[in-house]
């Protein structure tokens, strides 16, 4: 006994139950909460199945497993079993993306990754004049408390529209919760720090892809990428962009602000990811390591790329087009075929480009052209 100088150890030695008691309780609790439990109602079904495959029976168990108390039973997560002859057939040859979209009843899928719900965004979305029975919406929210907040707001807003008059309902709305952990901090300053740009945009690319490919349906003709912080756009945004009949076309993204020097409301360029490639940019890229990226809008990487944001002319023709090599995601209309061919948002450096800029590059690699409308403005939220 003399060896045990430590009073805690001596206590444990003298009364082992003092430590064993709590431990057993904790283990019991764990078992109750997180242990696997079996749903007896499923076992009969399972019995039939194993009868069919007597020879395989020994190799794998087909006994269903349920998850712990706090998560929903997996059987709830899949749609119900379908009727016996549920076979649908789609002729994708007849699917088209034409400038006469409304007339041809072409479906548009509007996709918005959303980490913050803005009432102005929602109001602007509802103002769009494209027929709602031809519009599908897709949202993806991050896996954190921001996402919870967004879901709360979205739920209310969507319920209002979808339970309202039938002709004002959207054709379909899909809300997704992102599977991978998103970066917690989404503050303005952090968001634009060069050091975390790559990580942030990579995560953003994953979110965009997850949203796109789970919502893209066999009858989608157009995909409109509309950022959740675009608070103002022409009400005919979809028709206007469709009218250009381009594989990929991006609007110019500006921001309204109060100009202190002039003491009046003014606008300034916001999205610098719409650009044309420059000699300098290519030179920088050729000297980079494979896993490095070029991000536009930072003084320490001077690419001298012509940026579409600077080509805005208040008196110019709104229909002016310019060819681009990189685009931002603020308001971009894409023919669904481009996505079906495989154009996605690379979460890895693709020709030293990532996310939307990488998407533009991949689109070009697939043989499509990318355009921008320098005089056609959408407005970003001012924080």
């Amino acid at each position: 006994m003399g060896i045990l100088r430590n009073p805690y150890l001596r206590q444990i030695r003298r009364k082992p139950s003092s430590i064993l008691g709590p431990l057993t309780i904790i283990i019991l609790l764990c078992y109750l909460l997180f242990g696997t439990s079996n749903d007896p109602s499923n076992n009969s079904n399972n019995g039939q199945l194993s009868n069919n495959n007597l020879n395989i029976q020994n190799k794998y168990s087909y006994k269903p497993k349920n998850k712990n108390l706090f998560s929903r039973a997996p059987s709830d997560l899949i749609p119900n079993i379908l009727p016996g002859d549920h076979i649908s057939h789609f002729d994708l040859n007849k699917l088209a993306s034409t400038p006469m979209a409304v007339y041809n009843k072409e479906k548009v899928l509007i996709l918005s990754p959303m980490s913050k719900f803005l009432n102005q965004y929602w109001a602007n979305l509802l103002k769009l004049t494209y027929p709602r029975e031809l519009i599908e919406l897709g949202f993806i929210v991050p896996r954190n408390s921001d996402g919870d907040k967004v879901l709360n707001f979205l739920e209310v807003a969507i319920k209002q529209v979808q339970t309202g008059p039938k002709e004002k309902r959207f054709s379909k709305i899909t809300i997704l919760r992102q599977d991978n952990d998103s970066i917690r901090s989404q503050k303005e300053k952090d968001r634009h720090a060069l050091s975390i740009q790559k990580e942030r945009r990579s995560s953003m690319a994953l979110a965009r892809n997850s949203l796109l490919f789970t919502t893209l349906s066999p009858f989608t003709s157009w995909v409109l990428w509309l950022d959740a912080d675009i608070v103002e756009s022409p009400t005919t945004l979809i028709q206007d962009l469709i009218a250009h009949d381009k594989p990929v076309i991006s609007a110019n993204c500006y921001q309204r602000f109060f100009d202190d020097s002039k003491k009046k409301e003014s606008i300034r360029p916001y999205d610098f990811n719409n650009w044309v490639e420059s000699e300098e940019g290519l030179k920088i890229a050729s000297n980079m390591r494979d896993d490095e990226i070029i991000v536009e809008g930072y003084a320490n990487i001077a690419t001298y790329r012509p940026l579409m944001a600077h080509f805005y002319d208040a008196n110019g023709d709104v229909n002016t087009e310019m060819q681009l090599d990189g685009i931002g995601g603020a308001a971009v209309l894409v023919k669904a075929d481009v996505h079906r061919d495989g154009a996605m948002f690379p979460p890895f450096p693709f020709y030293h480009l990532i996310e939307t800029e990488g998407f533009a590059k991949m689109t070009k690699r697939l043989g499509y052209e990318v355009f921008g409308l320098p005089n056609y403005l959408v407005y970003h939220y001012n924080e």
Binding site: I56, I81, F213, P218
Partner: protein, 513 residues
């Protein structure tokens, strides 16, 4: 709990500080553990959209894919690209019926493109049949058939498809087709995506479970094909599953941006280790091998791989296209890509143009050999008859025949010595005439013998004719031979006669001396 209370009741006053200590310890552990569980358990807000029309909420974290997915109601999207595959469909649906993965958890997606045969009709009837089967365990989940023609650049013959020059554009086109299939088919609630070609001949019914339990992001089995005997019975089929090598990387650097390296062609020697060649028929099927490029015959991947944007590049991605570039892209997306060298499925054998030529030649050769065999039988028969061995018969006949020509026993030459010393030319003449008349008699005898011989031969001929009428050639040659023999025998006779004369002369000469 009881132990804790009993522990309390036995406490003496002097142990109170120690009791406090143990209580403290318990509380701290409890709080820490609860905090730990709470931090793990993120109580995600789940919106209630049950009564809202056309609105759906999915938490993608529920569809990550686990190694025992069949026990966890995990849905598999089963993707099958089809082109002119009508003939393969019965075999394919045979495999489908036997799949052990719960059928209601499998959603089927077919893409029928550029088909000239009735792939569509056949596919529909097969699906109707299986979905209306009285056994509900055979019914699959959601089934979607897509039709899309991409305009075919290359024919579908084996050599058309597998020629070197055709590979680049062909691969890019197939990549597009695959992308069109999965991008429209994949739903938020899919946990796994399984790609399968229709022309797989032999495959275990547990294939999905066998691949799934490895818990890899992307996994492929080894693909071989059976061959006819004359080609060596079996052969690796899918050479697109490989590990990158220095040779491959060096080669990639020398090629231009749009070039596509295709594995398994002499034109691009990359010295890469191939999954197919590492097969050991007796090896452990669980053995895994990390890969960089993969083939598309049978791929199981977690749905998140596709959801997050990995696709089959229809352009040159790191100098590859389609499934090989898919492997490369998975690596860029930091997903695990694995092959099973000793777990083999068997592709059907389709002969190449060279094989077809060879097979045609083989068929002709076989027919020719049969014909030759038939002819040889006939020839053999006539040969045996035409060149019958008569040695033994001749031994017996010989004495009978030759004894008639041996005159020494039958006839004694009587030499009249009278008057030999006195030479009288007239008498001499008479004598010579005398001997001549004798010789004539001999000749007459010999002629008679010859007639007898010929009669014998005629009899033989008759026998032969009876045996075989068709062999005129041989008969004629026979008769030629016999006429030759006649001539020879005549010559012999002449010689004999001459000898006789000579003998007589000799005798005379001897006498002279």
């Amino acid at each position: 709990m009881n132990s804790l209370f009993s522990f309390k009741s036995k406490v003496f006053p002097e142990t109170i500080p120690k009791l406090k200590l143990s209580l403290m310890l318990f509380l701290i552990i409890l709080i820490l553990s609860i905090k730990y569980f709470l931090s793990n358990l993120h109580f995600d807000y789940i919106p209630n959209l049950d009564n809202v029309p056309n609105t759906f909420y999915y938490d993608l974290a529920n569809y990550q894919g686990s190694p025992d997915g069949w026990q966890r109601y995990e849905k598999v999207l089963f993707c099958v690209p089809l082109r002119d595959a009508e003939s393969h469909l019965p075999m394919f649906f045979g495999h489908m019926k036997n799949l052990t993965y719960p059928h209601n958890l499998i959603d089927l997606a077919f893409l029928v493109s550029d088909s000239k045969d009735d792939t569509m009709g056949s596919l529909r009837s097969h699906l109707q049949e299986i979905q209306n089967d009285p056994n509900p365990n055979l019914h699959f989940g959601e089934i979607e058939i897509y039709e899309k023609d991409f305009g075919q650049i290359i024919g579908q013959g084996f050599s058309d498809r597998h020629g070197f020059a055709a590979q680049g554009p062909r691969r890019k086109l197939m990549a597009r087709a695959r992308n069109w299939l999965w991008t429209v088919a994949i739903k938020p609630y899919h946990s796994w995506v399984y790609w399968r070609d229709a022309d797989v001949e032999t495959v275990p019914s547990t294939i999905i479970e066998d691949l799934m339990h490895h818990d890899k992001d992307v996994i492929v089995p080894n693909v071989w094909r059976p061959l006819p005997d004359w080609l060596g019975n079996q052969q690796p089929y899918d050479l697109n599953s490989w590990q990158e090598s220095d040779g491959g990387l060096q080669l990639a650097n020398t090629l231009d941006e749009d070039a596509v390296i295709v594995e398994g062609y002499l034109e691009y020697a990359t010295w890469r280790p191939h999954l197919a060649y590492l097969r050991d028929p007796y090896g452990d099927p669980e053995v895994e091998m990390p890969l960089d490029g993969i083939g598309g015959v049978s791929i199981l991947s977690k749905a998140k791989v596709f959801r997050t944007g990995t696709h089959f590049p229809a352009f040159s991605f790191e100098k590859h296209a389609e499934t090989e570039a898919f492997g490369k892209m998975c690596k860029r997306m930091s997903y695990s890509v694995v092959g099973l060298p000793h777990y083999v499925i068997w592709h059907i054998y389709e002969p190449s143009t060279d094989d077809l030529k060879h097979m045609e030649w083989m068929a002709q050769e076989e027919a020719r050999q049969k014909e030759e065999e038939k002819l040889r039988k006939i020839y053999q028969k006539s040969w045996n008859q035409g060149f019958e061995d008569v040695q033994d018969i001749w031994k017996e006949d010989r004495i009978n025949i030759l004894k008639n020509t041996d005159m020494s026993k039958h006839r004694k030459i009587v030499v009249d010595w009278s008057g030999i010393d006195e030479f009288d030319p007239i008498e001499e003449e008479v004598k010579i005439v005398d001997t001549n008349s004798k010789q004539d008699k001999e000749k007459e005898k010999e002629k008679e013998m010859e007639i007898e011989k010929e009669k014998e031969k005629d009899k033989d001929k008759d026998k032969k004719d009876e045996k075989d009428k068709g062999k005129k050639e041989i008969d004629t040659s026979d008769s030629q031979q016999s006429s030759d023999k006649d001539k020879k025998s005549k010559k012999n006779q002449d010689q004999l006669n001459k000898q006789h004369v000579n003998d007589n002369d000799k005798v005379l000469a001897d006498f002279d001396s």
